[in-house]
Symmetry: C2
Subunit: 439 residues, 2 copies
């Protein structure tokens, strides 16, 4: 795992941390990996800061789930009020669910009447989108990118190559190279569709994160997805835009990543920032797709669309509108990208910087060889953590710095991040590399 | 769907209700079915009552999710406090997650060291259990009961026969008759395991709800599952106890339904009542199963085990202990089963009554033919709704009254329910049957 804690280094940790990690390993097991060589325990969060037990602030430039800021009072108040009043499932009538669905649908353009369905996680949303696509097309084939991540249910894990070789891809899954200079992305998709057909597998869907986050953040040039939709439709499949990471105004200029490309997907999934940390996720899609599926297959998600999670989601929209966070994501995002680009110009290890709004990726390369260096990226991430700024890394080689803060991130926070990143880069230039963490 | 609203009858509804239903159908589509011939809109809930907009109370004898009672102040307070303090994912250290996992594990006996993993929904928990079973056994085959329901992800929907023929079962899935008098359940499981083997499919798991809820509530005689575990293990599979409906002291005498049978499952999944409506679910299992899976496959669920949902789950355990709800489930459950059994003795339509704790099922049959009658059960359910008592129906024919109230249900609530049920049954006996709702 990128940026994972290595238990072999436990000896260097404070006794209380070591003991909690031991209890954690006993009770939760090996799937529960921690971030950082020196794991962090947080006591509280507010705005774009997390605080440890001793009150030290950490600048959060990583977490997109608390999208409107940690512990935002408007969300806390809305959840508390709803929880004290009513929380039940969607087989009774409630106005809140319908109003929120209408509000959400108004942010999308799918080229015709659309409907919404609610789940609790992005994994469930992608799993449901896949079920709908298979139901509609009669196919099973899926095309994804080389280091895609779409979730952890059985059906979406087997089309998430970033989970590694421990999770084999399904025989109905084809991967295409991530979009990059010199890659003819649309041609790769056409090739994969033809290959599925040649194997007797009918295409159900092309599924992609609209910012290609786990592929190392690949937003540009906006518009390159337009020819892909045509190819997918001609091959009989649906275009599913995975907006779990790229949605809810993260890109600043648009509510949804697919809108940057000027396309109208058949289905759009969403999740992480939707309820500022309350488990709510879902999808929207063309009416005939959802209605046809619902009529035949039914679908009921006990907690999906419950009044408390919907209250959180509605409060998130209130805050995004009320605090004009889209404009902030565009403005601060540009300032952030500029700041990192300036550091890259002066650093032998920092290469290309890519980003849209408050989602920035920066390549870390070994200055000796020019090759992607996950070890050096981990050194940067851990160096920043030691200076109390939280980022992580992504991409197939784990060498892309992942900077993805809550949306209220301001210029002063960029300045703090840039100062610390500059310090860490300068430190790296002047010393022998630390040993890399275990894979 | 059992107890589903039939849109053809909209003309009889108040205009405001009709308008909300129309907006709902436009925004959410056909998967979002409503309960009852005359759908209910609730404004608030408290204890075992839900209230409509005009303040009329409805006795809730259906909802097991608000397990410690609607809007319980201890849960509301715990969630509000945690949400105002910190809500983040499990890759930072937090004591709350570890302490809750330890507390949960202490309620289970799996015959050796065990670990816990957290998801957001019961569907995700069953999906994960299946992934773990497949990883450990190398098999894919699954045995379930004839009208089982295990969730809505692609992988568990295809082993949930109760979803109907619109969702085909997987080729690796075998169904066995539900436990009933005259059914040799263990022999059926052995037969299914042999059939899978003969088809070249290796068994991964036997998966069953420990109260067989959607099969019509089949708790007795406690102990009949014991030989099944041996058969499943001999066939190379794992025993997965689905406690999403039957767990958290619902049966009164035990924390978990499997414990009534004196067995030690390999994996146990749980969900619905875990956070009193906050989306939290999960599983526990033998350490080597979870640890092996986590090492190879990894697993990270963004919202799974977050501090807010864990605070809700811990508060639920506090209330169950503090208000002695297990003893209440046993005591009131017995009183409830007696009351319904007495009504059955006097009613030509009410047959066998089955139950454990606060989960009671009662067969409704056509007095003319003695056959199971889903139409008559729907008439009972809707008749009770019109008198403001909420129950539903279940079972393959939809003819089993499903009485499954929040755990603080008291004798006076049973008296209210029994009076209304008696009234509805008496009314049915003296009139022509209403037309049945659409399937």
């Amino acid at each position: 795992m990128v940026n994972g804690y290595d238990g072999a280094r436990a000896a260097g940790l404070p006794p209380a941390t070591r003991e909690l990690i031991q209890r954690r390993e006993a009770a939760l097991g090996s799937a529960y990996r921690l971030f950082y060589a020196d794991p962090v325990e947080f006591a509280r969060g507010a705005g774009v800061y997390l605080y440890d037990a001793s009150g030290q602030p950490y600048l959060d430039a990583y977490n997109n789930v608390p999208s409107v800021g940690h512990s935002h009072p408007h969300v806390t108040e809305a959840v508390g009020r709803q929880l004290a009043t009513l929380n039940t499932h969607t087989r009774y009538l409630t106005d809140g669910l319908v109003s929120y669905a209408e509000r959400l649908l108004a942010t999308h353009q799918l080229g015709g009447p659309a409907q919404a369905m609610f789940t609790c996680t992005g994994s469930e949303a992608n799993d449901l989108a896949l079920r709908i696509a298979r139901h509609y097309t009669g196919g099973t084939g899926v095309i994804v990118t080389a280091n895609a991540y779409h979730g952890v249910t059985a059906a979406v894990a087997e089309l998430s190559p970033s989970l590694g070789t421990g999770v084999p891809l399904g025989p109905h899954v084809r991967v295409v190279p991530a979009p990059a200079p010199g890659v003819n992305f649309a041609a790769s998709v056409a090739w994969a569709a033809a290959d599925l057909r040649r194997h007797g597998v009918r295409l159900a869907a092309f599924l992609a994160d609209s910012l290609f986050s786990s592929d190392g953040v690949r937003p540009d040039p906006a518009g390159f997805l337009a020819p892909v939709t045509d190819i997918v439709h001609q091959a009989g499949g649906l275009y599913i835009a995975d907006e779990v990471q790229s949605g809810f105004w993260r890109s600043g200029t648009h509510a949804w990543g697919y809108q940057r490309h000027g396309i109208a997907p058949d289905l759009v999934t969403m999740g992480k920032p939707m309820g500022n940390g309350l488990p709510i996720a879902g999808l929207v899609g063309r009416r005939e797709l959802l209605d046809g599926f619902g009529r035949t297959a039914r679908y009921f998600n006990t907690f999906g669309g419950n009044p408390v999670c919907v209250a959180a989601a509605a409060a998130v929209l209130d805050v995004i509108e009320g605090e004009d966070l889209a404009a902030n994501a565009a403005d601060t995002g540009a300032y952030l990208k500029d700041a990192v680009t300036r550091l890259a110009a002066d650093s032998p290890v920092l290469g290309e910087v890519r980003g849209a709004g408050l989602y920035v990726g920066a390549d870390v390369t070994d200055p000796a060889t020019g090759a992607p260096s996950g070890d050096l990226a981990a050194a940067v991430v851990n160096g920043m953590r030691d200076r109390r700024v939280l980022i992580s890394a992504t991409g197939p080689a784990g060498n892309v710095l992942k900077i993805r803060p809550p949306l209220p991130f301001a210029h002063e926070h960029v300045d703090q991040l840039a100062a610390v990143l500059g310090e860490v880069l300068a430190g790296l230039a002047g010393q022998t590399l630390p040993p890399g963490p275990a894979a």
